[in-house]
């Protein structure tokens, strides 16, 4: 069998995983928050895109920012509702609340968008390209470009700008940040909204690859978790590398072993790492 097509497929898949995880990585490192509704925000991003195209007649590229803004606003509302728990750093309740929000969003989305599989009509979906023996679509290229741009952008913002310095400062020591004149609560809100928006972007860009259902989201949270944790919690570059690596692993495993079990296999790898190197999973 030829490996090259699988590698290309894996890169596209992995770019998607990485794109999905970028928001969580920042969220986790800066605010030490996790958002179990991340997968549902991804789903919502996909469905808002679909809705904008099919019902409002907006072109695909214009539908993406609409989805991002809508989901960012929902993320903002979530975070504002959770303010008290965030300030208390009540991690357990936050986990449960976001899980509950995810379920709420799923139910809400199903009643608005219906329970049928839908297809996002992206113009890039049908255009096949070839590279040697590998075939892929322009959509795959778009995913890779989006992932690389997001990571490069996030990396530059975090390392080169005032905003980035503030976020890194709050990540390291929110108490000390106060003495630098920084309001950490505002930073938390900003980071959460960024994470929500990036999940929506991932949904809008990745979802056209296959039909979407309002029940997707469960698996996305697991994948995001894998990428973020294996990449070294809070490491931007780590997440990109692991995301791509995970995509290639899943593609190869799917092609040569069993497609149905590829995500489970990736998770099994994590479990092994967890048993062998528990220290790697300490958060800060």
């Amino acid at each position: 069998m030829n490996v090259v097509p699988q590698l290309v497929n894996g890169v596209a898949l992995g770019a998607g995983y990485a794109l999905l995880a970028v928001g969580w990585t920042v969220l986790l490192s800066a605010a030490r928050l996790v958002n179990f509704a991340h997968g549902q925000l991804y789903m919502l991003g996909a469905f808002v895109t679909w809705f904008a195209i099919s019902s409002l007649g907006v072109p695909y590229l214009a539908a993406i920012p609409i989805a991002v803004v809508v989901v960012a606003v929902i993320g903002l509302v979530m975070q504002l509702l959770m303010t008290r728990l965030v300030l208390q750093q009540n991690i357990v309740s936050l986990m449960l609340v976001t899980l509950a929000f995810g379920y709420l969003i799923e139910g809400g989305a199903a009643s608005i968008f219906g329970g049928n599989p839908e297809i996002i009509d992206s113009p890039f979906r049908g255009h096949n390209l070839t590279l040697g023996s590998a075939r892929f679509t322009e959509q795959d290229v778009l995913i890779l470009v989006a992932a690389l741009v997001m990571y490069a952008g996030t990396f530059l913002v975090l390392t080169r700008t005032k905003v980035g310095r503030v976020v890194r400062g709050v990540a390291e020591d929110p108490k000390l940040a106060q003495l630098y004149g920084i309001n950490a609560a505002k930073v938390y809100v900003g980071v959460f909204v960024f994470a929500a928006a990036s999940a929506a972007l991932a949904g809008a860009v990745i979802a056209p690859r296959s039909p979407i259902l309002t029940s997707i989201g469960f698996q996305e949270v697991i994948i995001t978790f894998l990428v973020v944790v294996l990449g070294g919690i809070g490491s931007i570059i780590g997440s990109l590398v692991v995301g791509l690596g995970l995509g290639i692993f899943v593609a190869l495993f799917g092609a040569f072993a069993s497609p149905a079990y590829s995500t489970a296999a990736a998770f099994a790898v994590l479990l092994v790492v967890l048993v062998l190197r528990p220290e790697g999973f300490k958060t800060r």
């Binding site: 005032k162 310095r165 503030v166 890194r168 400062g169 990540a171 390291e172 020591d173 108490k175 000390l176 940040a177 106060q178 003495l179 630098y180 004149g181 920084i182 309001n183």
Partner: protein, 242 residues
């Protein structure tokens, strides 16, 4: 009347335990005031409460006025903008950020009352820092970190600079160097509230000193008055008769 900082009847509690039990204190314009006392006497609690800051869960009551303006209830990041700038004990810099990033994180307020320090000015005050400007603070020595912490504080154009144990972790010989530096800043017109473990060295540079014992002011006076005060030794090591 002309005191820059006026603290009256300051009380701080952590849960059920009382850390400060009604403290009155003033710092005048261009004055270096020191706070001394044994461990657990409430020195850090006092200066943190002035800055409105706490790593734990403190509840404070009482009045804190800067130039007659009541600051009680104000969040620490807002007090910073009003000119009260604290360099906390221990970790005063972001270790994952470079020296320059730490300094750049703070921009002098536009309508700053205190003296404005550009990055270059900080480097002038601490000539050792320019060479390390792109080094992560986690790689710096304790003394260098302290310089960055003070430099950061100066960037905020403080009217009142609060230093909590600036010499912790420094070799004894360096302590006086640090304190003389502080004295120079005061000579430049800054007001400083200083907590320092090394009482004898502190008395060399301070104008006035407050002695805390179990959350209360046990004594206060000018440095020369306090120099021979035996209450100081007793506060640190217990009554010699006991």
């Amino acid at each position: 009347m002309s005191a820059l900082l006026e603290v009256s009847d300051l009380r701080v509690r952590y849960g059920h335990s009382t850390a400060l039990d009604g403290v009155d204190l003033t710092v005048g314009e261009g004055e270096l005031v020191a706070v001394a006392g044994a461990n657990g006497a409430g020195k850090s609690t006092l200066v943190n409460a002035v800055a409105g800051w706490s790593r734990g869960r403190a509840t404070a009551t009482g009045a804190v006025r800067l130039d007659g303006r009541e600051l009680a209830g104000m969040a620490p990041h807002r007090r910073t903008k009003h000119g009260i700038v604290l360099v906390p004990e221990g970790k005063g810099v972001f270790e994952q950020l470079t020296v320059e990033d730490n300094l750049r994180l703070v921009q002098p307020p536009k309508n700053a009352v205190g003296k404005r320090y550009e990055i270059e000015d900080i480097y002038e005050v601490f000539p050792q820092l320019p060479d390390r400007s792109s080094a992560r603070c986690s790689t710096l020595s304790g003394g260098e970190r302290q310089m960055v912490a003070v430099g950061r504080a100066l960037r905020a154009a403080p009217r009142l600079l609060i230093l909590d144990e600036p010499s912790v972790g420094l070799a004894p010989r360096l302590v006086l160097t640090v304190l003389r530096h502080v004295r120079d800043l005061v000579r430049g017109g800054l007001s400083v509230l200083l907590v320092e473990q090394n009482v004898k060295a502190t008395l060399e540079v301070a104008d006035r000193l407050y002695l805390l014992e179990r959350g209360r002011v046990a004594g206060s006076g000018t440095a020369s008055e306090m120099r021979g005060d035996e209450r100081i030794a007793a506060a640190y090591l217990g009554g010699l008769t006991g």
